[in-house]
Amino acid sequence: MLRKFAFLALFFCVQTFAQCNSQDAECVPVGEWQLSVAVGAGVLTNPLHGGKHIPLVIIPYVSYYGDKLFLENTTAGFTLVDKPTWNVSTVLQLNSEQAYFERWHPNNILVGNMQASFINGEIAADSNQRSIDISEVSKRKWAIDGGILVNWYINGSSQLSTEFLHDVTNVYKGSLASFRYTKVFSLNQVQDSILKLGFGASWKSQQLTDYYYGIDERDTENAMLYYRASSGWSQNISLAYMKKLTSNWQLKVNIKREFLPTAITDSPLVKTHHVDTLFFGVKYVY
């Protein structure tokens, strides 16, 4: 298996990367660090009981693209093949699930502790009265996923991206996959501005959902709160608006809603069925 992978990697490595137009906002110079920072007002909602919403005030961006290697914030990758209409890369990236469990405000309180019965992902009718606060459960760990990223550029404005990832840090010992379609609209009425609409779906394995959202004896002695999560699909929709103000400054608006799978929302840890991201601000590109 490893020999096959090595052969494929060698085959892809001899391919050269596709040239890119320097005027295109999606193109970056090879071999240069790109730094920028967005400042504004925004929030990433936290779906967990006791989890505080995460404020988005200053968002740093860092990226570096070499001939093959690249770094984009919390993702590092190696491009195996880069063609004008598609590319394949191996990636290592931080799994963001743990962000909801960070105790941003340690004075969280237990929301409820009613009794009910549940087993293997199924939960009784009075589940909404049974919940547990993140301050009451054991600490979850950050994980790093490794896998394959494939981008397909359908035409000049549409793109399909997919990722297949596995936990390489052996934290949750599972996998995830995501599929995303984005369409860019150029607004003729407003100069130097683009509107990007995205639809996506992601699958999280039982090991992932159960590690982060399952409840067992490591979390509480109250067996009535035990929950074993199954695998599940989430969907998301996003809207991004960017307008170039000067050569360095951009106006930036982002709106995104992710609809969580029932495997997660049925957990006593979870209080909302979706996660929202909102940001309005300006971005400075160095």
């Binding site: 137009n21 320097s22 090879v30 961006y61 984009e72 914030n73 919390t74 590319n87 990636v91 991201t277």
Partner: protein, 132 residues
């Protein structure tokens, strides 16, 4: 008898030869010379505008057009040699061709677009942040 048959054959070949020679003649030979052969831009992808000097000639007067890719730039009627100047705009390296009225290419030349600040660019592979 044999000699008379050979004479008849030779006469036939001689009679057919001019026709055969005409049927298999190649298109009129032509040359084209465009200068400069390279257009410099600060960065690849930026449009390049420059004035070029075009000299072309054919072995007989005819109607020809000069094309930039598939775009017709200029045409001349019943001309055998032309020396002229014209302004062109290029975004990529392109081939300039001299074609006759049948659309046959008589001569061609490539004009390159090069960047003085030669940075290679590649496409971003990930969105800025996964949360967006």
């Amino acid at each position: 008898m044999f000699i008379s048959r050979m004479n008849a054959l030779l006469i036939s070949i001689t009679a057919l030869f001019p026709l055969a020679a005409h049927s298999f003649s190649s298109p009129a030979q032509a040359t084209i010379d465009i200068k400069p052969v390279t257009c410099m831009v600060p960065e690849i992808g930026q449009p390049c505008t420059m004035t070029i000097k075009v000299i072309w000639q054919t072995n007989e007067p005819q109607d020809v057009c000069l094309r930039q890719g598939m775009t017709k730039l200029s045409c001349w009627y019943n001309q055998q040699q032309i020396e002229t100047q014209m302004q062109i705009t290029l975004e990529n390296s392109m081939t300039f061709t001299l074609v006759n009225t049948s659309g046959e290419t008589l001569a061609s030349q490539q004009i390159e677009v090069n960047a003085s600040n030669h940075h290679a660019y590649r496409r971003k592979l990930k969105s800025d942040w996964s949360l967006f």
